[in-house]
Symmetry: C2
Subunit: 354 residues, 2 copies
């Protein structure tokens, strides 16, 4: 069974080959389209850390496949070695990136599968873990299609929809969250335009969102991040939809750095600001956004791009990869369960009961 | 007389050599520090257009020197040819960039000088124009020192001051406007930190502001533009000071793209937002900001940087070089006449009478 044989959209972010996981190397898109092959948990963890694969749901799926690979690799060893190998796999994958909760959510699902199958022999456990990872992958695509359908109802004919970073097919198993809403609206026959903020320092908007939209002939306008407020002032932005890396129980949402400023600007200009994410991005164990750990990345990402360095030596740098948008600035949360307007602790808890 | 022999700060943005004007090529700072030599109005106009020299006051000074060069070059020709050459010089320089009013202000001062000396022979007129340009240059430094002194009173010990783009020595004849305030506060013994927004697409913050601050050992933290809101949320920004390219009679201020969003974010977080600019940046002929022409620059600036291109083919681009901050979002206007809190048409008119 090959997950890549039926991608939900034109882009197969990851391909499961049984003995290996192939990931599009998103660091070099769109200049170079190539897959990287990972054969064990450590290689997958390194790919997550280096942002070969990024986006909360995609990280979760990749980590699940990483555990399946590790189990297959250790299946011929002793039971003790197998168990130790798996524990090590969970540990290395869990330490790859701190903010996206989907990573920990997916690893927890894999651990539950392992625990439920402890009476089996290692080869059988490995097969069950591979099945579980593949199920998580397909469930993510189904979830994104449901998010897209729910969110598309918010989009009006002729809308210009701003998005930040890449919450697209490349950030998920397929279809995307924020861009899933765009795709579904387009599939419903609505004409729209995407305004993609370039999203420094890693340029996911300029490289990945713009690329996904160009691939599908969805009109897309690229701007630098600091132009967003001016376009809102000019009335050129009708809605804003972003993804999320972790949502607290009260609706505060961690997402790519810059999302918070967009939410403040949206409020000032009375533009709806939506967060599109699966329930697996909601962390009920964290009451509010202040409890979410924000990853600080290397200074070299800010002092230049790639091999190019443009800032002088001697400058200090801050490089938080995410920020927190308080629930009070979020017009609606778009999940696979529908649109939750003005999310609160109570309405979010309700999503898990329905 | 050599204007470069006594720069007001460590950086001589331009050097007047009589027969030539040398400009630091700001496109390649800080990697390469080199001067470009201009010998006539056309070469100066091209340097302004290509952003070899940028920043409203610096553009004004360079244009004045450009007219002095053109007059010297034409001084040996007939009176008719001399007059035609000067008119052509005014025309080509006036068409170099549209938004900074200092350009037109400086050209108007040069035209007045020319008109007042029409009874003289061309060589004498050329000498008078060179004197006038040099006077404008030194007056700009004096103005910036006065702006710095006035603004420094607003800075408190230990402040972290955010700035956008480069309103420094490199944007003026010397000392700078927004960075002039920083320099003057430092000279008064106040410890402070500058937070420099990198300012895509041309990266004046990362390249020029960071470089100026490092040169003078003023602590500086570089961030990407989309981090500004998050740092305000964290309480890490105590004041914001930016320059201006043109200020309308009512106080609406055109400045580098992104300034408007900072002003909205500052209002939301109750952080003072100041504009530092000379009176020559105020255009009394324009009632409000909506009347200011905003330059739209090439798409290639947004789809990459320098020779590097990272966006896919097929993407549309917007690239407004400036935006307008309404006077209502400006806590104070810092000019050589002092600080005008909450500027209005009346208080701005008063600056020209005092």
């Amino acid at each position: 069974m090959n997950a890549s044989s039926e991608p939900a959209c034109g882009v197969a972010t990851m391909r499961w080959l049984g003995g290996a996981l192939e990931l599009i190397d998103q660091r070099y898109l769109p200049q170079r389209f190539a897959y990287i092959r990972c054969s064990n948990a450590l290689e997958v963890a390194e790919a997550i850390r280096a942002m070969v694969v990024r986006g909360a749901p995609a990280i979760g799926c990749a980590a699940a496949f990483g555990m399946a690979l590790e189990a297959a690799r250790q299946a011929g060893t002793s039971r003790v070695a197998f168990d130790e190998g798996l524990e090590k796999g969970f540990s290395v994958l869990g330490a790859s990136r701190p903010t996206a909760v989907n990573l920990f959510w997916a690893l927890q699902r894999m651990r539950e599968c392992w625990q439920a199958s402890r009476s089996e022999e290692p080869p059988r456990i490995a097969a069950l873990l591979a099945e579980r990872a593949l199920a998580l992958y397909h469930a993510d695509i189904a979830t994104n299609l449901a998010i897209g359908r729910a969110g598309a109802a918010l989009i009006e004919e002729g809308d210009s929809v701003m998005t930040h970073c890449n919450a697209g097919a490349l950030a998920t198993a397929g279809h995307g969250t924020a861009l899933g809403v765009i795709r579904s609206a387009r599939d419903q026959g609505k004409r729209l335009r995407v305004i993609a903020n370039e999203t420094r320092p890693f340029l996911q908007g300029a490289r990945l969102t713009a690329w996904e939209m160009v691939q599908e002939n969805i009109p897309v306008t690229l701007i630098t991040d600091n132009m967003a407020g001016h376009l809102m002032f000019q009335g050129k932005v009708h809605k804003i939809i972003v993804g999320a890396d972790r949502i607290a129980a009260n609706g505060d949402a961690a997402n790519k750095i810059g999302s918070y400023a967009l939410a403040v600007l949206a409020r000032y200009h009375r533009i709806p600001f939506y967060v599109a994410a699966p329930l697996s991005s909601i962390d009920l164990a964290i009451a509010e956004g202040s409890g979410i750990v924000i990853e600080e990345r290397a200074a070299s990402e800010v002092t230049g791009y790639g091999e190019l360095r443009w800032a002088p030596e001697g400058v200090a740098v801050e490089n938080p990869a995410f920020d927190i948008t308080p629930a009070g600035l979020i017009s609606g949360l778009i999940t696979e369960k529908g649109v939750t307007l003005k999310p609160t602790t109570a309405s979010i808890a309700g999503l898990f009961r329905s």
